[in-house]
């Protein structure tokens, strides 16, 4: 092992780490606002990669009909829950938002996909297909039990993850796909040969993180989200609708997951079930930061990425064993440091 190899491994690690950082930050964000540990985020990222791959191949992506299906489920479950107050106006409103919107997106995909749209358009379409899935999942799975314990919400999140794995297989098939890089080619920077895609990943991650910072620090909506994160009851008392902040957090989370998906697609082959492991690595980072601190999450994510790329080099078969065993000492350290009460129960 020489300097070139270690620099190469370091580069690889930082790039993967940047994606884990984006996912980890999203996990922290969703957890803080809704107390949901959003495991299915990984599936959304994988769907982002697969959707982009479909556009590149000139196919209509499976996410388009899937979004329509989710919209139908939402209307149906609202109907079951609401029962009273169901009238023409209600159906037109819901129909437009949850069914007509997704249908229009689907139609757009059918029209554009065979023409193999430009990269920026494909990415934009991918992200706009996946963003609405966030709030839909929130409405279907989590909103009805929004006040349950973290544990119950977590089990529900695992349920959603389970359902999504099967759904992904159904809509995307079992084969893996790989997308082309946003920027092809390699740039020499000093002794280091930097891949164009690496620059894109780093750039987009940094821009997203700065965007999040500005959003949370400067806008009223962002402040409302932070207030909900600090104290749900208090936020509700001052007039912040916690349900809609929950939906918003999920939309934001889905958007960031889709974006990381489009970036990761050219780094490694993604199939319907790749998301779980990727998002769990975001988790390792988020947990290391106690599911609370954003900057610490980013640092820990870079650490996970670097550890992963070095262990892939030295003991490739045991890469996952090493990364996931790492979480245990971290968890122990966390549970010793954080004095939070376990008096919570449903």
């Amino acid at each position: 092992m020489n300097t070139t190899i270690s620099l190469f491994l370091l580069q690889d690690g930082v790039i993967n780490g940047a994606i884990y950082a984006l996912l980890g930050v999203t996990l922290v964000l969703i957890f803080a606002v809704t107390r949901v540990i959003f495991v299915p985020q990984g599936e959304l990222a994988a769907w982002g990669a697969l959707t982009l791959a479909a556009f590149e191949a000139g196919h209509v992506p499976g996410t388009a009909p899937l979004l329509v299906l989710l919209g139908l489920c939402c209307v149906f479950s609202d109907m079951l829950r609401q029962r009273r107050g169901l009238n023409g106006k209600w159906f037109i409103e819901r129909g437009l938002r949850d069914i007509a919107g997704p249908l229009a997106l689907w139609a757009l995909c059918i029209w554009l996909a065979p023409q193999k749209p430009a990269l920026w358009l494909s990415v934009a379409l991918t992200v706009s297909l996946i963003i609405p899935m966030g709030p839909m999942i929130y409405r279907l799975a989590f909103a009805p039990i929004a006040d349950a314990s973290v544990l119950t919400l977590f089990i529900a999140a695992i349920g959603v993850h389970f359902a999504f794995t099967g759904t992904g297989l159904l809509f995307f098939g079992a084969e893996g796909s790989r997308t082309t890089a946003f920027i092809a080619g390699v740039f020499p920077i000093g002794v280091l040969m930097v891949k164009g895609q690496s620059l894109v990943v780093l750039g987009l991650t940094i821009v997203s993180l700065i965007g999040l910072y500005i959003f949370f620090d400067k806008t009223l909506r962002g402040k409302a989200l932070r207030a909900t994160a600090v104290n749900r009851l208090g936020a509700r008392l001052v007039g912040i609708p916690t349900q809609s902040t929950g939906r918003f957090a999920f939309a934001l989370g889905a958007g960031l997951a889709a974006l990381s998906g489009t970036m990761i697609g050219s780094l490694t082959t993604i199939s319907y079930d790749s998301g779980f492991i990727i998002s769990l690595k975001g988790f390792v980072a988020a947990i290391a930061a106690g599911l609370a601190s954003y900057p610490l999450t980013v640092l820990a994510a870079l650490g996970v990425g670097i550890l992963e790329s070095f262990s892939a080099f030295f003991a490739s078969a045991f890469k996952e064993v090493i990364v996931f065993s790492l979480i245990i000492p971290m968890l122990v350290w966390r549970s010793l440091v954080v004095r939070h009460s376990d008096e919570e129960d449903e």
């Binding site: 009805p144 389970f162 794995t165 099967g166 759904t167 966390r334 008096e343």
Partner: protein
């Protein structure tokens, strides 16, 4: 065993009818095989019910312990030629040791960190199984021997059926025995948070580890059966998705009911099998589409029936008999009460600082045996913090607290409890689903000594009878005897506070600490409480209470300690304190 006590013949009939499944000629062999697997998965699900539903710890990693059991037996039989029977102790040892090690680190994790931890180690164990040469990598180990009993091979499903379900029956009996015991109460009390259990002497970390290891042992035995029924092992049935399916069984069946585990395993296994044959035809391609249904099922169950399906099922079965109180049971030995007037608690210059905030500022006071001492003060005066110092929940920054000639500072709440101090909580901490009787019996935890093993084998009955008799005696004393078989959550708030006092009395304390016992009580209830406390004092009990209701405090106490902003501002007989200008100023505000 209590589950079967009310209608033993019915249960015996059900079990015999079930045992006939393999010999009824018209049942296809395929269904008998399915029942064998249901039995194996039931073992895992029963363990999870105890862990998740009863102990309040969620694990997605049980499949890893099934894997430990299966691989242990597979290696020993295939490589070293052991008989499958001979590997059982090794299986138990492997599962037990690995669970103890993983448990020691993960059981400490609270709340949602524990399930996250179980996901992490089950993934890394999965890849470990798949990458170790000796375990056959991802191909696994095949050609394992079947069980054989006195020369009769149990290779066919209709024979191994009996072995598997014998294990399940054993697990049901042993698990129910465990829950219905002193240790079982300690485990069941964990769900409502560990603070109450800890303050009655339960070593909660040990109780958690016990359930964790027990659940892993059941999973290990399931793996042992699986290896020799399947006759092959490979990593895929032991991955995290299998772990999620096991949790689904527990949640669906009803986490909290031993038989719910069997119900959940039955539904999930049959559903999976049916879906695997129906869904691909419906959808037109192959794949694991049953995961879609399972995922949705999990979410829906949490939304509409968080208790699972067993309670709906159990309505059609005879209800288990409530616990019998044996009047003849031996009375528990009592600790000698200190002589009236003797100094039993002395707080000297106790100080508690949280960062720059001084919550308790060098407070000193004394409590003599046979007195009721009141600790009063406006909101934020440091009363609750003082309480937490005395009970060992918090460790003071400086100062000394002596109780019955022992230094309390540095002792854990359960060690303080063992010295004869019992408490109630400002916010009632009873295990909601447990009966009032069992909640109260938890108070007597330190007066018994029987552990897990003797509970499982029912060797603890005479001690258990004594503990329950004591609980019933205290309930009678406080006037709640007619409510003893109701779930604690069904009592009114005032009654729950009284039940907490009964639980505290069960410890046989010489000092009783009551944290706002009259809060939320109606006028008549307050009067009854005052009568009860006065009667306890007459019997020689010493009481230290925090209370807001001045009228209540003035009439009842012998001595008052007044705190304001963490500092003691007055002390003395109630009528003297009531005229103290500093006290009046603290309560009513100063004259401008």
């Amino acid at each position: 065993m209590r589950e079967f006590s009310s209608a033993p013949l019915l249960w015996l009939g059900l079990i015999l009818a079930f045992a006939c499944i393999p010999i009824v000629p018209c049942i296809p062999a395929f269904w008998i095989t399915l029942w064998v697997y249901i039995g194996i998965y039931s073992l895992v699900a029963i363990g999870l019910v105890l862990l998740t539903g009863v102990g309040g710890m969620t694990s997605f990693g049980q499949a890893a312990f099934v894997g430990f059991g299966a691989y242990t037996s597979a290696v020993l039989t295939s490589r070293y030629g052991w008989s499958p029977w001979a590997t059982l102790p090794a299986v138990v040892l492997t599962a037990g040791v690995s669970a103890s090690l993983l448990g020691l680190v993960t059981v400490r994790l609270s709340g949602h960190f524990l399930p996250l931890g179980t996901i992490a180690w089950s993934i890394s164990i999965f890849y470990l199984f798949g990458n170790v040469e000796e375990l056959g990598r991802f191909d696994g180990i095949s050609g394992l021997p079947a069980f054989d009993l006195f020369g009769v091979s149990l290779a066919s499903a209709d024979r191994v059926f009996y072995l598997v379900w014998f294990c399940v029956l054993l697990a049901i009996v042993v698990s129910s025995n465990l829950l219905d015991s002193r240790m079982g109460r300690a485990i069941r009390a964990l769900r409502g948070g560990s603070q109450a259990a800890e303050s009655f002497g339960v070593k909660t970390a040990y109780a958690k580890l016990t359930v964790f290891v027990y659940a892993a042992l059941l999973a290990g035995v399931a793996g042992w059966l699986y290896a020799h029924v399947q006759r092959a092992v490979s990593p895929s049935p032991f991955g995290v998705h299998a772990g999620i399916e096991f949790l689904l069984m527990a949640v669906l069946g009803g986490s909290g009911y031993v038989l719910g585990g069997v119900l959940g395993a039955t539904i999930v296994t049959i559903l999976k099998d049916q879906l695997q044959s129906v869904l691909p035809k419906l959808i037109g391609s192959d794949g694991n589409f049953e995961t879609i249904v399972f995922g949705i099922l999990m979410v829906v169950i949490l939304q509409v029936a968080r208790q699972g399906l067993w309670p709906m099922f159990a309505r059609f079965l005879p209800q288990p008999k409530p616990q019998q109180i044996h009047k003849s049971a031996m009375a528990l030995p009592r600790r000698p009460m200190p002589d009236k007037g003797r100094l039993i608690l002395s707080v000297e210059a106790a100080r508690m600082q949280f960062g720059g905030l001084v919550a308790v500022n060098d407070v000193s006071f004394k409590v003599n045996a046979g007195e009721i001492v009141g600790l009063i003060g406006p909101n934020g005066a440091g009363k609750s913090t003082t309480f937490n110092l005395v009970t060992g929940v918090l460790r003071p920054t400086a100062g000394s607290i002596r109780f019955m000639d022992s230094q309390i500072v540095g002792k854990l709440p359960r060690e303080v409890a063992a010295l004869g101090m019992a408490r109630t909580f400002q916010h009632v901490k009873l295990a909601a689903q447990m009966s009032v009787l069992e909640n109260v019996a938890l108070g007597a935890h330190l007066r018994g000594g029987r552990g897990t093993l003797s509970a499982m084998l029912r060797l603890d009955r005479s001690e258990e009878a004594s503990l329950l008799r004591e609980a019933a005696r205290q309930l009678e004393r406080v006037g709640l005897i007619e409510h003893m078989h109701k779930p604690a959550a069904s009592l009114a708030l005032g009654q729950q506070r009284i039940a907490e006092i009964a639980r505290a009395l069960c410890l046989d304390p010489c000092l009783l600490l009551l944290d706002e016992p009259a809060a939320g009580l109606r006028f008549a209830e307050k009067q009854q409480l005052a009568v009860l406390l006065a009667q306890l004092r007459a019997e020689g009990m010493t009481i230290l209470l925090v209370e807001h209701d001045m009228d209540f405090v003035m009439k009842l106490t012998n001595h008052l300690v007044v705190l304001d902003f963490g500092t003691k501002i007055a002390e003395g007989a109630p009528d003297v304190v009531a005229r103290n200008p500093a006290v009046l100023e603290a309560y009513l505000g100063g004259v401008e």
